[in-house]
């Protein structure tokens, strides 16, 4: 995925394409949630073209197609369509898809060309997972509070610390771990380093979460893990452009996508209840109509934020607004619709119970809503909220 690309296909055409995959994935949503099937098993059974979505065209010689034209998914405007559709099916499984990893930005922008090519060659023909580890037990996703430490050890380094809530952490074959150089303070002391599964001193354990189980949120522990100079991501870039910048930029770029996933769950719950309540009473009908209006409205905001990023005018606060609005909608939608189905809805409609459990997980991704509201205010008050062509107060 790159910034400054344009939408190659109309959203409705993409929606149709991913809608077909969504139907297939939905069939396994509850078995995956219940632990009756593993992500690895499911990934091996889906169309490999779906797993390669977003790969550079040179590493994807058999892409998905719409109307006979290849779909390479190289824009955020395309991604948010796919993410909404696939989250409608199963947000947990979507989060397990290799291309949904936030590592993509580091690979695309901070890797050397040769490293990038080697990486894509490795993952092009079989499902392999990559993790992106920022969050820590005591500091959440705040990069400046980071305590995982990178210490010099002769010609190499040693990594020590703990990361938590890391998607695909325990199943990743490699990952990028954000850490602070020992003794360094401030944002420029932050680095991202590559850690391979099986490295001495590296231990990963999947967490048992309320929902989003396909995501495989994990705790990662690093006890004197050896890291070489070559493992420092973006080492040929200035420290201003890597490390901290990489983490913050990644979060900003991916927040509309998180919003799209939350939107997909809201829509899934809405569609489910519409199917169950074909002739709702006037109160329920008004509630459904209001939720449908919000789905439509929040989608416009998410797509606007994604288009801004593709146009090179993205800013973190608009991305945060998209995420906050979508997360609220997902929680409101699942809570309201569960209630509409009656007091035993969680037993009688386990899929709705899953939607509700999944919806709550987005609050914590890429920064919780209360933090995002502060960021939105910061952007708004400092006139950095709108893309540059917009009037500012």
């Amino acid at each position: 995925m790159t910034v400054m690309t344009v939408l190659k296909h109309k959203p409705d055409a993409l929606r149709g394409l991913f809608g077909e995959y969504a139907g297939e994935i939905r069939r396994n949503a509850l078995p995956l949630h219940n632990g009756d099937i593993a992500v690895e098993e499911l990934a091996a059974s889906v169309d490999p073209r779906l797993l390669r979505a977003g790969f550079p065209p040179e590493f994807n010689d058999d892409p998905m197609t719409v109307n006979g034209k290849p779909v390479h998914m190289r824009s955020f405007a395309e991604f948010v369509v796919a993410q909404e559709e696939l989250a409608w099916a199963d947000a947990g499984f979507l989060l397990s898809l290799p291309w949904s990893s936030m590592s993509t930005y580091l690979i695309e922008v901070l890797f050397d060309p040769q490293e990038r090519d080697e990486f894509y060659a490795t993952v092009a023909h079989k499902p392999r997972w990559v993790f992106f580890a920022v969050t820590e037990p005591a500091h959440g996703s705040d990069p400046l509070g980071m305590e995982t430490t990178l210490s010099a050890d002769g010609d190499s380094f040693r990594l020590n610390g703990t990361k938590r809530y890391i998607g695909n952490g325990a199943r990743g074959f490699v990952g990028f771990v954000f850490c602070r150089r020992a003794g360094a303070t401030g944002p420029l002391g932050i680095e991202a380093v590559r850690v391979r599964a099986g490295a001495d001193g590296f231990d990963a354990e999947q967490l048992h979460t309320i929902g989003l189980r396909g995501a495989g949120l994990s705790e990662l522990r690093f006890d004197n893990v050896k890291v070489t100079e070559d493992d420092i991501i973006g080492r040929r870039h200035s420290s201003v452009r890597r490390g901290f910048h990489g983490a913050v930029t990644t979060f900003d770029l991916f927040r509309p996508g998180v919003g799209a996933m939350a939107l997909g769950i809201a829509r899934a719950a809405y569609d489910y209840v519409r199917g169950e309540r074909r002739n709702p009473g006037p109160v329920d009908a008004a509630t459904l109509e209001s939720l449908n209006d919000r789905i439509h409205s929040v989608r416009a905001l998410i797509h606007g934020a994604a288009r801004s990023i593709d146009a090179g005018k993205g800013n973190g606060s608009l991305s945060s607004a998209a995420k906050v609005a979508a997360v609220r909608l997902a929680e409101d939608s699942t809570r309201t619709l569960l209630r509409m189905l009656g007091p035993t809805a969680r037993f009688d409609h386990p899929l709705m119970d899953k939607f509700d459990r999944d919806a709550r997980g987005f609050e914590f991704m890429e920064g919780m809503s209360d933090i995002q509201r502060q960021r939105i205010a910061q952007g708004f008050l400092s006139r950095r909220f709108w893309p540059s062509e917009e009037p500012a107060p």
Binding site: S290, S297, A300, L301, G304, L318, Q374, P391
Partner: protein
């Protein structure tokens, strides 16, 4: 719904938002009329109008001025016309919606400017996290409304009206609360807030059946 506007004029309707933000509702509504140029659109579907005094002569002869609505920059006249005088106009509704959005931004700017100059226990009020969270909520609401409007063609307006009004209502109320008790006193901020709300009511009611 009337569509007696040029494509260029309709495409420029979002500019009315910037005018409302910078100069207030009266100037923005006058600009909207220049762009839409429909006299029938000046009367809402329910027979009421809310316009700057400069457009008074364009109202139907049956119109009666029934009052005024103060804003933060002047006042708008409120008129009632005979049955059947008003007509749904998607471009007019859309323009009014952009103006209301710009009005909310204007109101919020006034609120945050004021809080920048006030202090609580020695700290500027605008730096308090709960206050900033409210500002963030208003910004998110404005963004949602802005992209909803921008992404909706005329034919889709009946579908978005209810949600748009809801978002603007939340943004207006939250912004006015930021003024504290002074926002409850009749004055420029509360006048602007009330005018934004009433504008939405006067020109509400674009009906799918009436689109032509």
């Amino acid at each position: 719904m009337t569509t007696d506007t040029t494509l260029v004029a309709v495409r420029d309707l979002p500019k009315c938002r910037g005018t409302a933000l910078a100069h207030g509702l009266e100037q923005a509504l006058a600009e909207l009329h220049q762009r839409v140029r429909s006299t029938t659109a000046l009367v809402g579907q329910h027979g009421y109008s809310m316009l700057p005094p400069s457009l008074r002569d364009l109202l139907p002869t049956s119109s009666e001025i029934i009052g005024t609505q103060a804003t933060d920059t002047g006042e708008l006249i409120i008129a009632r016309s005979g049955p059947g005088s008003g007509e749904s106009s998607a471009p007019w509704w859309t323009g009014v919606a952009w103006i209301r959005l710009g009005g909310v931004e204007r109101l919020n700017k006034q609120a945050t400017d004021r809080l920048t100059g006030r202090k609580v226990q020695g700290r500027p009020t605008i730096t308090l996290p709960l206050v900033r969270a409210s500002v963030g909520d208003v910004a998110a609401a404005i963004a949602e409304a802005r992209y909803l409007l921008a992404d909706t063609p005329d034919a889709g307006i009946p579908r978005i009206q209810s949600r748009f009004d809801e978002i603007v209502d939340v943004a207006v109320r939250t912004s006015l609360k930021l003024f504290g008790a002074s926002g409850y006193v009749v004055g420029p901020p509360s006048n602007l807030a009330y005018a934004i709300t009433r504008l939405g009511e006067v020109y509400a009611g674009i009906d799918q059946k009436r689109i032509r």
